[in-house]
Symmetry: C2
């Protein structure tokens, strides 16, 4: 096995770059060059202390940098590891198009099984609520809304949670207010109820997760979330649903196809 010096090099005492940054640089370079691969254990804090001849806080500072960059994750009692890249779920822009509406299962389940993963849906909750200001504005200021919350998991790992909001006058006492709205999901039910869907608006943001989101999605440090808000409009131009989704950014790539004219 190669010596730590050949893998990580040594510090440059003449450099004005902070020592912990030099250590982080050395580790980052070693990872980039494949000397450490996904899931590999990095040298322990003690080993790095001995190798570089610095104090433990300095080493921890360096490792903390790598974790903020999303390059490494630490596991209490085990060590610090190169962060494994999870399989990525690709969301096509036409995933809610009418022609793709499966009559049996939910879109998430169909796609996950096609990709060879085990899908789960979780923390299902259907409630009547007063809408937040933002949701209210998007739905045309209804007094109350029906909120459908759920969390999605892939092979046991939470990847996304979402809340759908519908004006209560539209959804009350319909299959939409049931935990399972039936084949084709709530979009199929909306169309059966005479709200032929015309188009969707999607807004995409990326940001660091709140502490609550870190818990719900079991996010490693250095992993942002993608925040997607989709509004569904019927043929009369009425907003009939808003779906607010927060996704673990390391589990998703969003794909859109756009006409050129």
């Amino acid at each position: 096995m190669p010596s730590l010096t050949s893998v990580l090099g040594v510090l440059d005492p003449t450099s004005d770059r902070a020592v912990f940054r030099q250590i982080a640089d050395a580790l980052r370079e070693a990872i980039d060059k494949g000397r450490f691969r996904e899931g590999d254990k990095l040298p322990s804090e003690t080993e790095l202390v001995d190798h570089f001849g610095v104090s433990r806080m300095t080493v921890r500072n360096a490792l903390s940098l790598l974790q903020q960059e999303g390059l490494a994750v630490s596991e209490h009692g085990k060590g610090v590891f190169v962060r494994p890249r999870p399989p990525v779920r690709r969301l096509a822009s036409d995933r809610f198009a009418r022609r793709h509406r499966d009559q049996g299962k939910a879109a998430f389940t169909v796609e996950a099984e096609a990709a060879g993963s085990r899908p789960e849906v979780d923390s299902l909750e259907v409630k009547e609520e007063r809408p937040s200001q933002d949701i209210s504005a998007r739905l045309g200021s209804p007094r109350k809304v029906l909120a459908r919350r759920r969390r999605y998991l892939l092979d046991g790992r939470p990847v996304e949670f979402a809340t759908s909001y519908l004006p209560l006058d539209l959804a009350r006492n319909t299959p939409i207010a049931q935990p399972n709205p039936g084949p084709g999901g709530i979009y199929a039910r909306l169309e059966e109820m005479g709200h032929r869907l015309d188009h969707f608006d999607e807004e995409i943001r990326a940001r660091m997760p709140s502490p609550a989101e870190v818990r719900t999605l079991q996010l490693a440090s250095g992993v942002p979330v993608i925040h997607l808000v989709r509004t569904a409009f019927d043929a009369e131009g009425r907003a009939v649903e808003v779906c607010d989704t927060v996704m673990a950014a390391d589990a998703y790539v969003l794909a859109y196809q756009l006409p050129a004219n």
Copy 2:
């Protein structure tokens, strides 16, 4: 002025939650409640040390958490501040549609001025290169490509940098190989050259920036980047351009409109 105790409360010594997390919680809550607003200075490390009766490293640990969450930014010699939310640039999905192709200025310039900001383009560079494996695959494996790099700034702040790649056999000795390709940009030139554009594919990811990206975009810690790769296809189905864009996530919201059928 209110006492720190009334703003931040006190520690719960019976809690098993780490002290630095309790301090971070207190600050986060104060920010959420508006006790500290955008751009406000948080209490200095020394003040927090005195108030909570802990060591400075513990306070720094707490402040570091808030910075990782993107809630705060520190400025050497000045203090730690609630991170200001910059104005957000909204990118509509039809921004490259033919009907919007302005005959005078670049899309970025037009949009920025409409929003009342001062746009700049920077580090313009046009080069012939060997494509990376990824770019090569997207463009149908050309031996060489023309790469057009540039950085965009809004009111002096870098918000995005992008590289366009075109197969060299298509772009060599054309206006596209000039730093300024002329009115309507390279898409207008491509269409003049007989490559009528048919559609665009866009792929969106979010992740933490590399150290190089932090420098180029002058990113605060706790700010992810949005990575967008757009491929332009002509009417024959040939990929004629790939544009690789990295955006400061706190400066953008992407908006797409999708048909329902």
